[in-house]
Symmetry: C2
Subunit: 312 residues, 2 copies
């Protein structure tokens, strides 16, 4: 099961950190991109090659200290086909290095369309009896607005292909409350979605006691995390919003169960563009990322220990 693989990696690496691979050419070190601009001009290909080199350096520097990476596909889509090739190669490279890859694609659709997304991102596509892999990752993020059938469409794929999904429940952005916090018969919308995730998840329960249908629960809403942790006791949380968006190790402690498991915490800019911070240099951008990933791992582990939630 996907979730067993994820928990195994977490315990092996003693780390709950997910590195968000959200590259944008403006923030890629000059020493990386200028080489490609020289070779290919200021083209989509140059940008995409620079991003791929940057990502590989990230992966090389963190693969032994984090269980997973999370590329946000929008940052690749914007560079067109070349960008998506970099996305695919990044995912492949990360998986080769033993990392779990969570494709942050936030797709959500139903029936044959959901199946097509699953073909694209979780499994493979069949062409007259021959199967082909395309953007295959271990897990993707899914948007629930269209209803439970959106999620149900993925269950078969999860079971057959040993994959996972993380459903948007309570997102980390400022405006997330506008729909998600509305109250329906004494329940918030995010609680309604949480119950759905909890229920559907039972069909994908792993040996580790967690399910392969996870939930996205933002680090920026600690009180809601507490409620949601109880609503979805067997659901793994993917927690965005740490670092750059304002979440701290204290904020995210409620996302964990008493066993110290149940959550992975994502940081993107705070790690991958750490080289911009005081004390780091552009040339050693990989080392800078590693240092920040270690700091984050240690801060979270320390917070877990202080709360008697040690998992290793």
């Amino acid at each position: 099961m996907f979730i067993d693989r994820l928990v195994k990696k977490i315990k092996e690496k003693k780390s709950n950190v997910v590195v968000g691979l959200d590259p944008r050419i403006e923030s890629i070190p000059k020493c990386v991109k200028d080489k490609y601009f020289k070779e290919y001009g200021k083209t989509l290909k140059a940008a995409s090659e620079a991003i791929l080199e940057f990502n590989k350096e990230m992966i090389d520097n963190v693969y032994d200290i984090v269980p997973a990476v999370k590329p946000q596909i929008a940052f690749y889509e914007q560079y067109g086909l070349e960008g998506l090739k970099a996305y695919r190669k990044t995912c492949e490279y990360a998986r080769e290095k033993g990392l779990i890859v969570i494709g942050d694609i936030k797709r959500g659709d139903i029936g044959s369309t959901a199946k097509a997304y699953a073909n694209a991102h979780l499994g493979n596509v069949n062409i007259e009896g021959i199967t082909h892999e395309t953007f295959s990752v271990d897990s993707i993020t899914v948007n629930p607005y269209m209803g439970g059938d959106t999620l149900e469409s993925f269950i078969k794929e999860i079971q057959e292909k040993d994959k996972g999904i993380f459903v948007l429940v309570k997102t980390s952005n400022k405006g997330s409350g506008q729909l998600q916090d509305l109250e329906v018969a004494g329940k918030k919308i995010y609680e309604v979605v949480a119950e759905l995730v909890d229920e559907l998840g039972q069909e994908t329960l792993g040996q580790c006691g967690y399910t392969s249908i996870g939930a996205v629960v933002g680090a920026t809403y600690p009180e809601q995390s507490k409620v949601l942790r109880k609503k979805m006791p067997k659901t793994y949380f993917l927690v965005p919003g740490y670092g750059a968006q304002g979440g701290t190790a204290e904020n995210i402690i409620h996302s964990f169960n008493e066993d110290g498991l149940g959550a992975v915490i994502n940081s993107s800019r705070g790690i991958i563009f750490a080289y911009k911070k005081d004390g780091y240099s552009e040339e050693k951008y990989g080392e800078a990322a590693r240092t920040e990933a270690v700091k984050m791992r240690d801060a979270i582990n320390k917070a877990l220990e202080l709360n008697n939630k040690c998992y290793y």
Copy 2:
């Protein structure tokens, strides 16, 4: 403004029909795909080339009788980079033929991620001062679950780049009610979203009296369409669910305003795979699609006339 361009096309063609370009290799006529299988084997490239030829035949047969086409990107993503190349070329070809292209991508994210999606699908991306187009279409579908900031992120792009979005309000699938129909202080969730769309739309009001922020309202829920029409008087509706999903010309009449405008109706399988129905032949799959698109146009126009909603 995007919306003025759309209304102009509707009036010119006397048609509210949108053709959904949702190809899957299983349903592409043998006479088209076998050629490519012979040349490239049963590969992603062969499937994608066959789909592109099929789409071009569709476009050639309908460009003079419909205002717009709506490719659903999932059906292209599943064939990987080759599939997305076919998506891009399909969009380009349709725009060359004077069609409005609505990319059914249902993306939804915030801040810099939303900007990246807008770069990818509505505008262009900047690489050190040089701009590049990638998947540029006229309009995309957007998922509102993350909140109003999801939509706000697109407004600047809409205004600057002369584009539009259609926000998922009430979708056509069976499970759509699970979240969208929940009642919050006397209001359904889809009404809350509708009010948001109506309000934000004011910033993109065109000369035609409609706004460039549209709404997706399923043909399968006529009663809800009636309510939503009143809630969003200046919003254009993109109506899926006609034909194969069960929507009829009678069902969708409430999606229109008294001026006979305010809605475009999508049919995918019912038109593009019409050749499978009795009375058509596989070799003339383009003609079959045209015949069905004409029938649908006429059925909708007749229903509009009967309801005194003539727009031409």
